[in-house]
Every structure is written in C-alpha cells, then in structure tokens.
Amino acid sequence: MSIAIKINNISKSYGSYQALNNISLEIKDNEFFTLLGPSGCGKTTLLRMIAGFETPNAGVIQLHGDDIQSLAAHKRRVNTVFQNYALFPHMSLEQNIAFGLEMIGWGKDRIQARVDEMLNLVHMTQFAKRMPSALSGGQQQRIALARTLAPEPKVLLLDEPLSALDLKLRQAMRDELQQLQRNTGITFIFVTHDQEEALAMSDRICILANGDIQQLSTPAEIYENPANKFVADFIGETNFLNVDVINKGKDQPLKVKTPLGVDLELDPSTQAGFNALIENQSCHATLSLRPEKISINSDGLDINLEGRITQRTYMGGYTHYTVHTEQGQNLKVSKRNHISNNISYGINEMVKIGFLQSSVRVLTQ
C-alpha cells in the first residue's frame, strides 16, 4: 500500500512552548487515520501543518512523495472539515459546495453535476437552495463534508468535526463518516480528543501527548497492549497498581510482586509496555488491569482474591463495582449485565474476584 502522507522529523514551538517534538509518521493511502490526544497535545497543530495553515520549525511533509512544504494552503490537494464547519454564511448550500470547484476552474455543467452528486451522497438534495443558518448542526456537518469532498481531494483532514454535535447525532455521524470513507476511498486524517470516537472509527490511531507520539497502532492493539502508563490511562478505564519487578531477563518470565499479596509470572512477549532494557535489576513498575478483565465469583481463573464491594454504579449494560481487597487495595470491576445471568451484588457483600495472568500488563514507570 502506498504512503499518502509522510511526516518526517516535524517540530514546532510557540515561544518556549514545544507543541510538536520531532514527530515522524506515515499515513497510508485509503486509511482512516486518527490523531488522538488531550487538548494541547499538538494534534490540531499537526493537522493544520498538513493543511498549510501553519509552518513547522523543522521537518518535511510529503503528499504522495512530493514535498508540499513550500505550497500555500490553496495549492495543496488536501481539504479540511473545520471544527465549527466554517460554512460561508452568505452562500446557499449549493454555492458552498460549488465554491472549491469554481476555484479550481471547473466548467458550469461539470460543477452542477458534481454538486448534485455530493448533495446526494450526504442525503441533503432537498436543501440545496437553503442558507447554512437554516440548518441544524448535523446538517451543517454534512454540507461541510460535501464541500470538502467535492474537489476530490487526495486526503481529507477532519478537525474534531463531531465535537459540536449532541451524543445521539455524534454516534450516527460516526457510522456515516466511516461509511463515507470506505465508499470514497479517500485517506481520512481525523483529529479528536474523544477516545471512544477514535476506537470506533479508525484503522490506526496515533496517540499524541506533550508533543510526542505515545503510541501508533490499531485500536485493539492500543487498548489491549498500551505502550506506556499514559496510553493505558488515556484509553478506557484501568486499575493501576505499583509493583516490584523481582527478576527479569531475556526470554525469562517476568516476575512481579503485587500489593494484592500474589506474585505474578508473566510471558515477556505480552509485555510490550515494559522496557526490557532495564535488565537484571529489581525496579518499580506499574501494573495495569482493565476492569472488565476481572470477574466476580467465577471459576477457572489463575488468580483468585477475596474482597468487599464498597461502591456500585449501575450503567444499564454494565454495572461498575469497586472491590476493596483483603490486602487493602481498591479494584474497579466492570460486569456485563447478561440476559441470562442477571446477578447483582450489593454494597458490603463479600465476593471472590479473579483474573487471568495474561490480562495483566506491566508498564515502565
């Protein structure tokens, strides 16, 4: 698969603030690629650099192998969907969609045909003559998409396009965006701070924080095998425990002493987040265990503990419990509410909890 966007050693600072710190990454053709991170992590800066609204202090940006650094924004074959859509308020929806096509000099008939095609694509044909102010947020969103897709960009940049929508609409638009990306085959670069959105839509996710790439991988890989404590914390819920690494070495099981009163022996090949460079010395590390990997009153698990339920939060599909173990640790446990197995535990109830050693991830501190 060919590379759509190649970013090579990009740095950007605003005064003393380092927004991006020597970032390199490659985005493949036809990929739904997400830049995810907390606000101020530099993800929008990176997107604006690809669009041409910001210039990096150092580094190279290539679009299909061509250096686009020296090109002004209006000469780059990439289009942006802005956070608040930025529809031109004095133009009808039709005119908004036609704008980019007029600018690249298409003929009248060709523009009209493409505008109709785009309106059809986003199911907005009947609104063609309306002004943007007469539309709801979701409809404006669709028109913004149609406007940016009309000139057939090679890469589509989306700057938190769903953040202004309400929850229901946001979930519906997720599916629509994904569908749109598959149908058009255009590379999508999607910026968001919402990890759920990122997990749901992306082929690959790049997690940025403090101007550095924390992890770049598929959604499942990022959730199951976080590269460090930041990623484990940022994506989903997890239990963190401070552990002592007893012995470690190449091809040897990783032994850790946990505050749960048990020692764990872990397969080092499952522990990508633990830096094997620190060898043969005992050290401290952080253990991450996802709440849904812990089960209550089940058999057939490697590690079994006892504890008392101190908190219970009913979420509909799930119930979240906090279990206080005999050793004085609080563990978050998440239990799916099955049709057949609708058991619920009350506060102060003593329960057995258990998990598999293979669910545990040890992360370098």
Binding site: N84, M103, T148
Partner: protein, 314 residues
C-alpha cells in the same frame, strides 16, 4: 351553556380592562421619548417647512405671506423683463455637493478597508491603541483640524515649502480654494466614521472562513472578493452612510478650504441665514437637502431589507 358564555364574557371583560389600562400606562411611560422627538425633531422641522413657504423679509427674518417663490428661486431667476429663466447656479452647487460627498465616501472606503483589516489583525493591546489613535482627532475642535489643512495646502504652506526644499517643484499654483482641497479636508474629517464600522464588521468575521476559502483552493484575491467583502457589507454600508450624509451638509470644508469660491449646500444654506438674509430661500434649500438625504436612506433601507446574513457561521 349560558353559564359558560357568561363566564367567557366576564373573562373577556376582565382581560380587556387591564389591557386598556396597560396601553395608557405604556403611553405615559413612553411620553418622555415622544416629547423629545416632538420638541427636538417635529417642531424644528416644522419651523423650517413653514419658513420655506413664506416670503422672505429683505431685512432678515420672514413675512408671514404664503409663497413658493423660494423654491422657484432654486431653479429659476427673473430677467429684466420679469421672465423666468432657468438658472443652473444652484443646481451646480447641489450636483457638486452630491459629487464631492460620494467621492469622499468612496475614497474613505478605499483607505478604510485596508486600515480596518490591518487593525483587526493586531494583538489586543495594539488594537486598542490604534483605535484610540483613530478617535483621537475627535478631541480637537473640527475648526482647528480643518484649519490645519489650510496651513498645509496654502501658498508657502507646509506642503509647498517641503517640496520646494526638496527641489521637486518651484512655485506651484495654490492648492487651496478648489474642489480637491475640499475633498482632502472632507476625507480627513470623516474617515474615522468609516474605519470604525468596517473594523467592527471585520472583527466579527470568523477567521476560519478565510482559512476554509484558501483550503478550497481560493487565492488571496478571490478570498477577499468572494468571502471577506460580502461578509463585511453591513459595515461598509454603515460607514458609507455615516460619511456620505454628513458630507452633504458640511460647512467648514467649503468655507475654509473652498474659500467661498466653490460652494456646497452646507455653506450655501448658512449664507442665506447670515450674509444674504434670505431665510425662506435658506429654509427651502434645507428642505431640498433633507429630501436628498431621505431618498438616499430610503433607497439604502430598501436594498438592505433583502435578507443579508451577518457575521460568522454558527
């Protein structure tokens, strides 16, 4: 059934009574505003209309004899044989006034737009400073500011002596007492009234719209003409009115910079009440000026009552 109707009547009555009461209270409450309008607008304008339709008294003031002669005087003069002859003298002054006012507004617009755009792109503290500097001349008397231009443009004035000193000219014609001198003075006097509303409309403009335009392959020039200018139209129209309308009635510039040789409606009217002592004629000229302004504003109101979309995307 009757019961219900009766009840309904009662209810109606009880609704109507407080409604009427409220109406009269509203009237009383708004009375100060009505009074201000009545005494400061209706009465003075009424006096002007009244005087314009009376006979003028050659010793000043007017005689209460109905006559439309002063309106006739704008277009016609009597020759020796008491025949009416068309007289272009005042029409030329009206035309010059309209021309100079439009020219002033257009020049102000051309200068103001880049200035306002520049200011809007500065940091907040610089913005405040620049806006303060633009309003600063208002603190100085208009007479003094216009008179400063007399010193600049006159023979041996600042401009000529500087150019002579640099060896660029020797002994040029006077720059004062012509249409150009008046134009310069008017542009100078009224330009802040253009900059401020345009600045306000540019400030309201969402910067992302210009980014979106350039993202969609629009060059700087087409972003300006297709996005920025149309969205700043309310500010441009407001600025145009604020400059054009006072220019129609301006007195100082033609007096000081036009030197009485070239008149505009403002000082023509003023002359009728002071030097020429022809109150009725002055009043009728004022009525004509008022009608011109009203026609212009009505034309503008009709144009802008079509749907215009303001400012930024939501």
């Amino acid at each position: 059934m009757n019961q219900i109707i009766n009840n309904a009547h009662k209810q109606n009555a009880s609704i109507n009574k407080p409604f009427n009461l409220r109406l009269s209270w509203n009237l009383i409450g708004l009375m100060p505003a009505y009074l201000v309008m009545f005494f400061l607008m209706i009465i003075p304008l009424g006096i002007i209309f009244y005087v314009s339709m009376m006979t003028s008294d050659p010793y000043g003031g007017y005689e209460a004899i109905f006559s439309l002669e002063s309106y006739q005087q704008i277009l016609f003069t009597y020759d020796w044989d008491d025949n009416l002859n068309l007289n272009f003298q005042y029409l030329i002054i009206i035309a010059r006034t309209l021309l100079l006012a439009s020219a002033t507004a257009i020049i102000c617009l051309l200068i103001s737009f880049p200035v306002a755009y520049f200011i809007s792109r500065q940091s907040n503290s610089t913005k405040a400073l620049l806006l303060y500097l633009i309003t600063l001349p208002f603190w100085v008397s208009m007479v003094i500011r216009v008179y400063a231009w007399v010193l600049i443009l006159s023979n041996d004035g600042v401009l000529e002596s500087s150019l002579t000193f640099l060896g660029l000219t020797s002994g040029m014609d006077s720059l004062l007492y012509n249409n150009n001198a008046m134009l310069v003075g008017m542009v100078y006097s009224y330009i802040p009234l253009m900059i401020l509303p345009i600045y306000a409309s540019i400030e309201k403009l969402d910067a992302r719209l210009t980014e979106a335009a350039s993202d969609l392959y629009s060059t700087r020039l087409s972003t300006l003409t297709k996005i920025i200018l149309p969205l700043c139209k309310p500010g441009i129209v407001a600025g145009f009115i604020l400059v054009f309308v006072p220019c129609l009635g301006t007195v100082l510039e033609p007096m000081l910079l036009g030197g009485g040789k070239t008149m505009m409606m403002g000082n023509l009217i003023q002359n009728q009440f002071s030097i020429a002592r022809n109150w009725s004629f002055g009043a009728s000229l004022a009525v004509v000026l008022l009608i011109i302004v009203m026609l212009f504003l009505m034309w503008n109101a009709r144009k802008s009552s079509r749907p215009i979309v303001e400012g930024s995307a939501v």
